[in-house]
């Protein structure tokens, strides 16, 4: 099985290449179908891996040496273990569903071929990122997905703000990439290798705390930028300008989770530095709380989901931070399913309401679109972590519970719990506003089977997938943690009375949130809802502050450097000065050339006298 690993990223990349070369000679529909088959084939290969090596995957495929100079050696090599298997399953399967969904969603749109090219390239990049066995190949995947997110967000490029949103996404994520690159350099300088296993062995053998601390912080910055965590989250709400299928794939299931994957993959590096994990946990918890508060005041359907993604990712970081990466991974899996579902649902809702994103002008859609309503409701249940019947009750509440008993985890638990309440509020507020209440009929829209299958599958998943791992003390299958234990170790599990108290607290928080949401939806319909709180609506004004500080400084620096250093400094002073200096010199000397004979003679005599003087002074 080892040598077939390259097929997993290979198929989507092949699709992209074919699209690039032959794209112009085929109709967009044929391109769309060809593009959709590629992730399907990858999913088949992944399924085959599950079947053959499901229990303890440890596959390795060395394709070719990428760079080898002196003792440093980085190669294009893929490695699949439990964590990677989960990630590639999500990327491939959800990727395929999105491809299927976009067949109808984007039919007849301008630049359809370009869309499928970048979608295929994205899936390929994501698979490379997750299957890479060294940091350099991870960085390749990292940047490819960044590029695809830029291109897909700016898909409808004819409007300036879409192009600007795409650029903003790429620039902000690139800040993280620079930090990640610096971390790679530090690790390279310290340990001379970038392959995971030798790197972790070397780190364990001789942990140089200062270097690892700086590297850890830089990796965290990289992850924070990619996964849109506070404070580098400002690009995610704006990148809703792209098609909803893009948001479903990139800003829900795959790319934004790359940051979490990075932290899980480089867990030994974080573990080697005392206190580093707690920092990750804090950043996760605070982001969860912060994004949830912003979510409740949004009016654009996709922005609500964008802030919800930021918040849910916060929980995953919290999971990794409290020493429970397997729980974080579990929530990543669950979140991938229901968030993709919600974004696709939102996409259909937007089409129904003729590109109008404002949820206050929507209502009562349940009669017109029953199928959409039930699948969307399943997603909302999972998002709000409704006790027992939703998947994220098993994953998110487990993380919240585990955070309580970790040393110094009380603060994290409080933030996480508040976040859970707010999550429930914005989830059900969204549902009530869009589907319940007085009916505002939109365009009749018939979803083909290409759309219904993904929604159906993901709805089932967002309900059922949680049963993989029942909370401690409950009867029922506990497969997830033991399966991941050999690689990520067992997470801290609360026991006895504390356990029950935490589970009840989690459920009660969700129920309170749902009640508040019902009232919030009514206020919103009467016009005095939560959206009028400007502080929350503008996400604590972070975006505006960031945009007013950094870009202007950057452009001003460019202008200053250009005008003062280059034009004034080099051109004027240095070259101009030289030129004028020579000009002046020659003008002075020219005055001695005005044709007057006696002045020439005086030049000679003066020369003789000066020479005699020098000779007299020097020689005698």
């Amino acid at each position: 099985m080892n040598e077939w690993l390259f097929l997993v990223p290979g198929f989507p990349l092949l699709g992209a290449l074919l699209n690039a070369i032959l794209g112009e000679h085929f109709a967009p529909r044929q391109i769309g179908r060809m593009a959709a088959t590629m992730p399907f084939l990858s999913t088949l290969v992944v399924f085959a891996i599950w079947m053959t090596h499901g229990s303890a995957p440890n596959l390795h495929d060395q394709v070719w040496t990428w760079m080898a100079v002196g003792h440093f050696q980085a190669s294009i090599a893929f490695h699949v273990d439990q964590v990677t298997l989960v990630m590639i399953s999500i990327a491939a399967f959800v990727g395929f569903l999105i491809h299927l969904f976009s067949q109808q969603y984007l039919k007849g749109d301008y630049g359809e071929r370009r869309y499928y090219f970048y979608l295929n390239l994205f899936v390929g990049g994501m698979l490379i990122l997750t299957m890479a066995d060294n940091l350099l190949l991870l960085y390749l995947g990292w940047e490819t997905v960044g590029l695809c997110s830029y291109a897909l967000v700016a898909h409808w490029y004819r409007k300036q703000e879409n192009a600007w949103a795409g650029r903003k996404a790429f620039v902000v994520t690139r800040i993280g990439d620079t930090a990640l690159a610096l971390a790679i350099f530090i690790l390279f300088a310290e340990y001379h290798t970038l392959n995971y296993s030798p790197l972790f062995a070397a780190v364990a053998a001789s942990p140089d705390h200062l270097a690892l601390l700086i590297a850890g912080i830089l990796i965290l910055i990289g992850a924070v930028a990619k996964s849109a965590q506070f404070p580098l989250h400002i690009w995610l709400p704006d990148s809703m300008a792209g098609p909803s299928t893009v948001s479903a794939l990139i800003h829900a299931a795959t790319m934004v989770t790359a940051g979490v994957y990075l932290c899980i993959r480089l867990y030994p590096i974080f573990a080697a530095v005392p206190g580093m994990l707690w920092v990750i946990g804090l950043s996760g918890a605070f982001t969860a709380f912060y994004a949830a508060t912003c979510g409740i005041a949004q009016v654009d359907i996709k922005r609500v989901l964008a802030y919800s993604t930021i918040s849910q990712l916060g929980y995953m970081f919290l999971g990794v931070g409290i020493g429970a990466p397997s729980l974080g991974l579990f929530h990543l899996l669950v979140h991938g399913c229901f968030k993709a579902l919600l974004f696709m649902g939102a996409g259909v809702v937007i089409i129904i309401y003729k590109e109008n994103h404002d949820i206050r002008q929507m209502g009562g859609l349940k009669k017109q679109q029953p199928f959409l309503r039930w699948t969307f409701l399943a997603g909302i249940f999972a998002l709000a972590a409704v006790p027992v019947i939703s998947a994220s009750f098993y994953s998110k509440d487990a993380i919240i519970a585990a955070s309580f008993i970790v040393p110094g985890g009380k603060l994290l638990w409080v933030l996480a719990l508040l976040g859970a309440v707010f999550t429930a509020i914005y989830a059900f507020r969204l549902y009530f506003l869009v589907f319940e209440g007085p009916e505002k009929p939109g365009e009749p829209y018939q979803m083909g089977w290409g759309m219904k299958i993904p929604l159906g599958v993901l709805a089932v998943a967002s309900i059922g997938i949680g049963w993989l791992q029942f909370p401690p003390g409950w009867p029922g299958p506990k497969l997830w943690l033991p399966w991941l234990a050999p690689e990520l170790g067992m997470p801290p599990a609360p026991a006895g009375g504390v356990n029950i108290f935490l589970q009840v607290a989690g459920s009660v928080a969700t129920l309170i949130g749902i009640a508040i949401a019902y009232k919030a939806a009514q206020w919103e319909r009467e016009g005095r809802g939560l959206s009028r709180i400007a502080f929350l609506f503008n996400a604590w004004f972070f975006d505006r502050v960031f945009l007013r500080i950094f870009p202007p400084i950057w452009y001003a620096l460019a202008r200053v450097l250009d005008r003062f250093l280059e034009q004034a400094g080099f051109q004027l002073l240095l070259l101009g000065g030289l030129k004028d200096g020579f000009g002046l010199g020659s003008r002075v000397l020219e005055s001695g050339e005005d044709g007057l004979l006696s002045r020439y003679a005086s030049g000679m005599i003066l020369g003789l006298v000066v020479l005699l003087f020098i000779a007299w002074g020097y020689l005698l």
Partner: protein, 103 residues
């Protein structure tokens, strides 16, 4: 004693010659200045001859006379043409070749 005296005379001749060249505006006087310089050289040569009691000093003087005469003759011929064609014999008439500083 006589050596220093002759040198003083030569120096005087030299200074007068230089003064003539630098200060006078008429070309004739420039030529006169050069002639004086030559004379200074001849005086020094004679002093040398006297000092070393050898005739080469005089030989040197004779050569200098011949050559300076030849040079001056030609310059005077040119001076004639300059007076005829450039219309004047003062230094200011020779301003045709100059650096156009104003451009």
């Amino acid at each position: 004693m006589t050596l220093e005296l002759t040198l003083v005379i030569a120096a005087l001749l030299f200074v007068v010659g230089v003064a003539l060249i630098l200060l006078r505006r008429n070309l004739i006087f420039l030529l006169l200045g050069i002639e004086l310089l030559f004379n200074a050289a001849m005086v020094i040569a004679l002093a040398g001859g006297a000092r070393w009691h050898s005739a080469t000093g005089q030989v040197l003087v004779v050569f200098m006379m011949a050559l300076s005469g030849a040079a001056l003759a030609l310059t005077l011929a040119l001076l004639l043409r300059v007076k005829h064609e450039l219309g004047g014999d003062s230094v200011d008439d020779l301003r045709l070749l100059r650096e156009e500083v104003d451009e």
